[in-house]
Symmetry: C2
Subunit: 182 residues, 2 copies
DNA sequence: TATTAATTTCTGTTTTAACTGAAACAACTG
DNA sequence: CAGTTGTTTCAGTTAAAACAGAAATTAATA
């Protein structure tokens, strides 16, 4: 055990929030515990040591350890230290925009960009030449689509959150501005 | 068995494309076979009967049956019939934009919107009042964020693919237009 | 440097989802 | 309506991921 007293009591709303976030994660290919740990840190809004997370969520210590590592790999949490406490404490940004941008950036790098590479490879392969031209065209279109989306994503990620917000709020009114652009 | 001859031979490029698409699906919470079946239909660009899909992918017939059903639930494939052939044939749009919009629309309805509901419930719950105001504020910000994204998504989905394409191509130049907007 | 605290790694178990093959069902054909 | 073709459902199996608990490692303290 540990010299500190652990286990934070979560009220029902916090539980609902954290559990739902975990399920949401599962549906998007994120480990449930990982999502729960992050939701917890976001909810409490202050740094927590691993043991406290463990007891609060009621999962194994090692599970928390791995989840924290995973979240660090995703740049979603940071380690901080509390004066007079040897333990690592973990915290996450309370700015949803920052979190969102981080996730989009990471997923793009890990999953989107590699897919673009594969499609490029496919098009360059001599095996495709023998194939009918239409299939080649479809791969080309899929690639073009992903490239447009990728470039756009990069540019959006560079915007200030407040600017990005304005863009989103603009919504489909952007259509009207389109004629002005050139 | 079946009175027709099945099994389409896939060249290495097609295989690479389909297998990668399957792995990609897994990482985003989509069943691998489901993703593969869809990739195959996209690649071949013409209607295929279930048996031919089965033999081409080398998976169980029932697996294909369930995958096709799933893809129909997602509105990603359609059933068509070929003159003189009793079997159902399945086909998917060759327009990546249409496919993308379909997926975004469905996922939004299934996973995004329900989460918004949960967050609203959380905020309305009397249990949260007792909680510190900052946690409440964070939930509120998460909700606000998701609502903005949701509204924006709905509006983007309504745009013509060609218009949407222009918006994406505009990229961060949109920043300059922002001052003109009101 | 011995002791304790804190964290990670490892191995085995559990859980969940995917998948198969067979049986049931439905639709069509002669 | 008997036989055939095509599709779906279902029960059981397999495979993959998540998770737990113990052991090992690292780091801090005294």
């Amino acid at each position: 055990m540990n010299m500190y007293n652990s286990a934070m009591i979560l009220n029902p709303v916090a539980q609902r929030f954290i559990l739902h976030w975990g399920e949401m994660g599962s549906k998007w290919g994120v480990n449930r515990t990982v999502a729960q740990v992050h939701a917890l840190l976001y909810f409490v809004g202050k740094p927590m040591p691993a043991d406290e997370i463990t007891e609060t969520l009621g999962v194994a210590r090692s599970n928390v350890s791995n989840s924290l590592k995973e979240l660090q790999n995703w740049n979603l949490i940071q380690v901080v230290h509390i004066m007079g406490d040897r333990r690592d404490h973990f915290t996450t940004s309370s700015d949803v925009w920052v979190l969102f941008k981080t996730v989009v950036h990471e997923r793009k790098e890990r999953e989107f960009d590699p897919t673009i590479s594969v499609l490029r490879d496919c098009l360059e392969s001599p095996d495709l030449d023998k194939e009918d031209a239409e299939a080649q065209q479809r791969i080309k279109e899929a690639l073009g689509f992903m490239e447009v989306l990728s470039t756009w994503g990069d540019q959006m990620l560079k915007l200030e959150p407040s600017t990005l917000m304005k863009v989103l709020k603009l919504g489909s009114k952007i259509k009207d501005l389109l004629s002005l652009a050139k």
